[in-house]
């Protein structure tokens, strides 16, 4: 049984359960029927493995009788994937004697390198899986994330038999041999937890979905003009001014829990503290009086609307760097991070120029207003390197005129232009592709004003899947093209609709970046996506539909061959 919610709320929880009788109950979906494919030609896996051979044998067995030979460190992920494979609560359903069993052996080489490195090298997820006709399964991986991916593939190969009253399972198409690895190492999802707050349990649910969709990076955007819910031990009263409410905060312990939760599931958490802009809310903190540009002037930066302006903290003020040093230092261990995203988006330098301290600082440091952001980036990097010399910094791409450090990771989000040109102008930087015109998951759900969408209609799972990453970069620059990420900005999000926007699109990105060369016909593509959606559903993760209910089960009646 999961706790009712975060501990702080346990008491409230009891009170509300007792008192609210008209609460929203998530209605149980129709009875869980195993996925009924009408395509018997071979296994359809999500993603499709890079190399796979299979034959025609079947092996039947009963659940709960799998014999694993593995390192004890793998116990937790094996239990997670038993839940994925057989449904939560499968242990309670087990009974009786067992005749046949699956025997799984896992070879796993490097205990020390279990975590994904900042460059997300594809070999970290490399694995081989072989299954013979007698239920012997062998898994080998060099690194821990490879084991997670192998178990994910295995879980998809095990099918519940539909024609039995007792719970019987089978593996088909045996013997199977798979050698698998991603073409691109970075397949991320960004969640903005600053324009709306999401409880840690909801973020964990999102991470579960990332695991099932092979999204291996959770980019956690936790500061905005609207709120900063991330608390700080150095500034204990900060969140009293910057969070939506005192219950809607993340503690250092929450971060530790989430980072560990993600790590076990093969997901790396990347913290983002956006700066210097998008920090309007910091202006409410008394210590930062006068530090935030355009704090009181609601209309000067953003036209007629009075939404939160893109208000920057002043890069020409030592207090800014004092704050970052302490704030990042509070969080560095919890995030275990060797990669920090530092934002850097949409800075209105006009808002800085009017602040009192600016001109003095500029002359003291012999700086121009124009290169203030480059100065800021340099100072920030110094702060990070003070904690750990190998830490990488990430930024939102701001155009080719800006200076970044060698090895910095740049997230390309422009609608126009091309990431190729950006890679040409910044040959020593690593790139993550997040085009707003296709990958922004908030697009099409209208803006926070009267409607409309600056980035087009809804980008469907198909729009996302259709982009072939191999066409985005020059072949000889592949090392610098890390992969793609789907940003989910939260103006119009809430706890309820957030997972619906993330899924199934998270997987659509991942499956293409994992195996871009595979050529699926319409029915096969649908089957891959529907299987993934059903796995999410079986694991209690809300998802939008891939296609209509009828077509999910009658792919060949809807989509031909």
């Amino acid at each position: 049984m999961k706790p009712c919610l975060v501990k702080i709320l346990a008491l409230l929880c009891l009170i509300f359960i007792a008192e609210i009788s008209g609460e929203f109950k998530l209605q149980d979906p129709p009875p869980r029927t195993p996925y009924r494919s009408d395509n018997p030609k071979g296994p359809i896996l999500a993603p499709v493995p890079r190399n796979m051979t299979f034959a025609k044998d079947d092996f039947e067995f009963q659940e709960c009788n799998i014999k694993y030979h593995h390192d004890p460190i793998l116990l937790e992920i094996i239990e997670i994937y038993n839940d994925v494979t057989y449904g939560k609560g499968h242990k309670e359903r087990c009974s009786g004697t067992r005749r046949e069993s699956l025997k799984v052996t896992i070879n796993f080489a490097k205990l020390s390198s279990e975590y994904l490195p900042p460059k997300f090298n594809p070999e970290y997820e490399h694995y081989t899986l072989s299954a013979d006709s007698h239920g012997n399964v062998n898994i080998s991986a060099e690194y821990y994330p490879g084991v997670v991916r192998a178990l994910d593939t295995l879980s998809q190969l095990i099918i519940q038999k539909t024609d039995e009253n007792t719970e019987m399972f089978e593996m088909k198409y045996l013997p199977i041999n798979i050698t698998d690895y991603p073409e691109y190492g970075y397949r991320g999802v960004m969640i903005d937890t600053a324009r709306d707050y999401f409880f840690p349990d909801t973020l964990k649910m999102a991470i579960d979905g990332m695991m099932l969709g092979r999204n291996n990076a959770f980019h956690w955007h936790f500061s905005e003009d609207d709120s900063i819910p991330m608390s700080s031990t150095s500034f204990p009263d900060l969140v009293n001014y910057t969070a939506f409410s005192k219950n809607e905060i993340y503690t250092v312990q929450d971060v530790k829990d989430i980072v560990r939760y993600a790590k076990i599931r093969g997901v790396k958490v990347i913290p983002e503290f956006e700066g210097p802009s998008h920090l309007h809310i910091l202006g409410f903190y008394p210590e930062f009086e006068g530090l935030v540009g355009c704090f009181r002037n609601y209309t000067s930066t953003s036209g007629r609307h009075g939404g939160p302006p893109y208000a920057p903290v002043n890069p020409a003020d030592e207090r800014t760097y004092n704050f970052f040093t302490k704030y990042f230092s509070d969080l560095k261990d919890a995030f275990e991070s060797d990669y920090w995203h530092l934002g850097g988006d949409e800075v209105s330098i006009g808002c800085v120029s009017v602040l009192k301290s600016t001109s003095k600082f500029l002359s003291e440091h012999n700086l121009q207003l124009n290169n203030l952001q480059d100065y800021y980036i340099g100072r920030e990097r110094k702060v990070l390197h003070g904690f750990r010399p190998d830490v990488r910094a990430g930024y939102w791409w701001r155009g080719s005129n800006n200076k970044y450090g060698e090895g910095d990771i740049l997230q390309y989000w422009g609608g126009g232009g091309s990431v190729k040109r950006a890679m040409d102008s910044h040959p020593t930087n690593y790139f993550i592709y997040s085009p707003s015109g296709t990958y922004y998951l908030d697009c099409g759900y209208v803006n926070q004003y009267f409607g409309g969408s600056w980035c087009g209609g809804i980008h469907s799972w198909r729009d996302i899947y259709n982009i072939d990453p191999r066409t985005l970069h020059n072949p000889d620059k592949k090392e610098f093209f890390m992969g793609g990420e789907l940003p989910l900005w939260s103006e119009m999000n809430n706890e309820f609709n957030m997972p619906l926007k993330l899924f199934p699109r998270g997987g659509a990105l991942s499956f293409r970046y994992w195996n871009p060369e595979v050529n699926l016909n319409e029915a096969q593509l649908m089957e891959m996506m529907v299987k993934y959606q059903n796995r999410l559903k079986m694991y209690d993760i809300p998802s939008s539909r891939v296609t209509n209910r009828y077509c999910e089960e009658h792919l060949h009646n809807c989509f031909g061959n």
Binding site: R195, D226, N447, F450, E495, P542, T547, E553, C558
Partner: protein, 566 residues
């Protein structure tokens, strides 16, 4: 079973509650009621319902009083120590003219009229023509209650409201063929309709995807035609839904869409011979011009077979009996490919030649005339869909026509069908699935419709306020990409905006955009606090600061707003 999911649900509930506590901290200077009441006056006092509220009725209609306490106890009272009861310091007196009737047949707007008075001493008086008026009054009152610290406080007293809708038909179409919704989901949707003063649930029962209704005339058919053997509505289920809807002031209208959108009937081998184009897959053109083999798989009733009419007659009569209180049976009639499925079919083509039918439209008229006669003989009024692509279609006399084309062609619709009563479901505004993609993962009637655009629609721009030709309007929730989970988010809060249009009408200029946002947010909070999930109106920050954010625009300026954010 679903612990994780449950904790997620609780999480959702918490957010709502926490969120409400932050939102409600700011007292509004006026009662925020969606849709806006016709006439309202209010004071500035507050009165707390301390121990309990005693309901009494001049009509002694105890069944209804029980119904009222069932619905509103958890809505009015958020702690266990208060509730409806007897010997209370506050009284609620009901005066209902037709005290034993929920609502009469037809769609007279006056049927839902009510007067609500809250006196300074906390006593409440409600007058209504029918029971349904009391429900409308109770939801108006419930929306303004202040529940901070678990109390029940009525602000803005003394309060007087005199209210009735402009149009008697304010509907929600729910497609229960393309997705199956569990009974509990349907009931929750009905709750949300009542809270939104939406009085008609139009159930689109059948389509290509499934025929989930277990009809007495066709025992065993659902084994073939439902999405799965578990996803079936029995007659008992439907009766339960109709009865639940009635208790909530909602009428249920059945739709049996014919002669197109009927592929699922062909899944039953006993009826597959009634179909043409059965399971035929056509090609679907993708946005880049490529054509994939994946068009909608077809199935249209064969209009040349007498057996088809026997089948239709039995369905109509089953529906007439099951939905005995419904004002009409909707017979669809939408999107029939008469050329490909009828004219070009060898046998049907030959039959047409022998019987001297020149084209598909003529055969369509023949079908409608025959079905219309069958319905008339059974004493059933019919309704049909009308779209802008074929103004030559003829419909049976007296039928209600529901228009789903663009609003720009409403005048053409009026001109073509002057002798029918109308319902408006203009798709570019009232279709909740638009902008969310279709079953191939490509665009569907973009863009997604916003509260602001929907709010700008005004029926009297097309229909004289004195005419009773327009029954009202309806929001449509087609279910291709729905689940029992995401459906709420699509319907709400936008259904409340549609309700506002047909209940209270265009907001008088000049108005403040901040006021409109504030009202919508309050309505959305009312839904969420009482078990009906709903989407955001605007961002968290802007919901907390509606005037600061939205008042910069003036009310004459909608075109420039559209330009800014298109």
């Amino acid at each position: 079973m679903n612990n994780f999911r449950k904790s997620f649900v609780w999480g959702t509930l918490f957010i709502t509650l926490l969120f409400l506590s932050t939102m409600r901290a700011k007292e509004s200077s006026r009662p925020l009621i969606t849709p806006n009441p016709k006439e309202m006056s209010f004071g500035s006092q507050t009165v707390e319902i301390k121990d309990c509220l005693h309901i009494s009725s001049i009509g002694n209609d105890y069944g209804f009083l029980h119904n009222l306490t069932q619905i509103y106890d958890s809505i009015f009272f958020k702690n266990q120590n208060s509730g409806f009861g007897s010997s209370c310091s506050n009284n609620l007196l009901l005066e209902v003219k037709n005290s034993f009737v929920m609502m009469p047949a037809g769609f007279n707007p006056k049927d839902q009229s009510y007067k609500l008075e809250v006196m300074s001493n906390g006593n409440i008086h409600i007058e209504a023509q029918y029971q349904v008026g009391v429900l409308r009054a109770m939801d108006s009152l419930a929306q303004i209650l202040d529940h901070s610290n678990g109390k029940t406080v009525i602000p803005h007293v003394p309060l007087e409201i005199s209210d009735e809708p402009r149009y008697g038909y304010i509907g929600l179409l729910l497609d229960i063929s393309r997705n199956y919704y569990p009974m509990e989901t349907l009931k929750t949707i009905i709750n949300g309709m009542r809270m939104s003063k939406v009085n008609v649930l139009h159930l689109h029962l059948t389509d290509d995807d499934s025929f989930p209704i277990d009809l007495p005339s066709f025992p065993g058919m659902v084994k073939h035609t439902a999405l799965s053997p578990e996803e079936v509505y029995t007659v008992k289920d439907i009766h339960e839904i109709i009865s639940y809807a009635n208790q909530n002031g909602v009428k249920v209208i059945p739709e049996f869409d014919i002669p197109g959108h009927t592929r699922s009937i062909g899944d039953d081998p006993s009826f597959s011979h009634l179909m043409t184009c059965l399971n035929r897959i056509s090609k679907w053109q993708m946005p880049d011009g490529t054509r994939i083999k994946g068009g909608p798989s077809g199935g249209v009733l064969n209009p040349t077979l007498e057996e088809t009419y026997d089948f239709v007659d039995k369905v109509i009569n089953d529906l007439r009996k099951i939905f005995s209180s419904s004002d009409f049976v909707h017979l669809g009639g939408d999107e029939v490919n008469t050329n490909a499925c009828w004219v070009l079919d060898e046998k049907i083509g030959q039959w047409m030649q022998e019987n001297e039918f020149a084209n598909g439209n003529e055969l369509f008229a023949y079908f409608q005339q025959k079905v219309g006669t069958l319905a008339k003989e059974s004493g059933v009024r019919t309704a049909h869909w009308v779209y802008q692509n074929n103004w030559d279609l003829k419909w049976d006399e007296g039928s209600v026509l529901q228009y789903w084309g663009d609003s720009q062609y409403i005048p053409k619709f009026q001109e073509t069908y002057p002798d029918h009563q109308h319902i408006l479901s203009v798709h570019e505004l009232f279709y909740f699935d638009c902008g969310l993609g279709n079953r191939y993962g490509v665009d569907l009637c973009n863009p997604y419709q916003t509260w602001a655009r929907i709010k700008m629609f005004e029926p009297t721009d097309y229909y004289s306020p004195d005419s009773d030709q327009l029954l009202g309007g309806e929001g449509a929730m087609w279910s291709e990409l729905n689940t029992a989970h995401n459906v709420f988010n699509k319907i709400w809060p936008r259904l409340g905006v549609i309700s506002s249009i047909f209940w209270s009408g265009k907001v008088e200029k000049p108005f403040k955009w901040g006021d409109i946002v504030e009202e919508l947010v309050s309505y959305r909070d009312y839904l969420k606090a009482n078990g009906v999930e709903a989407n955001q109106v605007t961002s968290r920050y802007c919901e907390a600061n509606p005037h600061k954010v939205f008042d910069a625009w003036d009310s004459e300026d909608f075109e420039s707003i559209e330009y800014l954010f298109a």
